[in-house]
């Protein structure tokens, strides 16, 4: 079984990635990077990461989230995060990245926030 499973769905012009598993150094981080690159190549630049099923992330995974955020912003897109677990929220607090990412607990609210 893959370390990180990613399922893509479309909600209007926002692409939602439902993710479950681990975003850690190696396979998990690479899977996220590959998914984001593919979406940008397909001109899908409004991306919502649903992290409800991500129970574990390490510093490499956090770095990959930052890398995704930067790549999407550079391409004039928007990356937002949905349904952080408490542990992931704690890690984003420790790293002060909660001040960087746009984070939501409600999908409808997240979808409505895209400009």
């Amino acid at each position: 079984m893959a370390e990180l499973n990613i399922t893509e769905r479309q909600a209007g012009d926002v692409t939602v990635l439902d993710m479950s598993g681990k975003i850690t150094i190696g396979e998990g981080s690479v899977a996220l990077r590959t998914a984001i690159r593919r979406l940008l190549e397909e001109q899908k630049k409004r991306i919502l990461l649903n992290l409800a099923g991500v129970g574990y992330i390490d510093s490499s995974g956090i770095g990959e989230l930052v890398s995704s955020y930067t790549a999407i912003n550079k391409d004039n897109g928007e990356l937002k995060l949905l349904n952080l677990t408490q542990k992931l929220q704690d890690l984003l607090t420790i790293t002060k990245l909660l001040t960087v990412f746009d984070v939501y607990e409600n999908e409808a609210e997240a979808l409505n926030s895209y400009k």
């Binding site: 850690t24 190696g26 390490d58 510093s59 990959e64 930052v66 420790i94 002060k96």
Partner: protein
């Protein structure tokens, strides 16, 4: 490693020790984490402490494999796990050129927030009660991490 034997706080009657020597490849991170999880579950720490130890070990071993040993599979990562009534102590040793944690920029500084790496030490320090780096006489770098009960 001399400094390990100089720690009188550990009661030799009740100390459990496990040593691992693993190759310098990325898969080692998960292998080490699994071994530590097994050790920690036997030592009876809380779930929160076990989570923190797991995070810290993954970061320490990642650093040893990537930055210490540069993924050179001729070099190994040595891990020593000690459990006592007072604490769980984990040492991770690499065979690299040496490491100074003070040279790592603060990843929470405004100008570093969007950097894609450099947060591992922050996690190690956050989740463990003590984190120290040593350069032992035989070379390389050892990081010793302690989680009190």
């Amino acid at each position: 490693m001399e400094w390990l034997s100089e720690r009188p706080c550990l009661n030799p009657v009740t100390v459990e020790t496990t040593e691992l020597s693993l190759p310098s490849r990325l898969e080692t991170v998960a292998e080490a984490a699994a071994a530590v999880a097994d050790f920690v579950s036997r030592s009876g720490v809380s779930d929160d402490a076990a989570f923190g130890i797991d995070m810290a070990v993954r970061e320490a071993v990642t650093n040893a494999v990537i930055h210490g040993n540069s993924k050179d599979e001729d070099k190994v990562v040595d891990i020593i796990l000690k459990s006592s009534p007072e604490a769980v102590e984990i040492s991770v040793h690499d065979q690299g050129a040496g490491f100074n944690p003070n040279e790592v920029p603060d990843p929470t500084a405004e100008e570093n927030l969007l950097k894609t790496s450099g947060r591992g030490i922050l996690f190690m320090r956050n989740f463990m009660d003590e984190v120290d780096w040593f350069v032992p006489p035989e070379g390389g770098t050892t990081v010793r991490m302690l989680k009190r009960r």
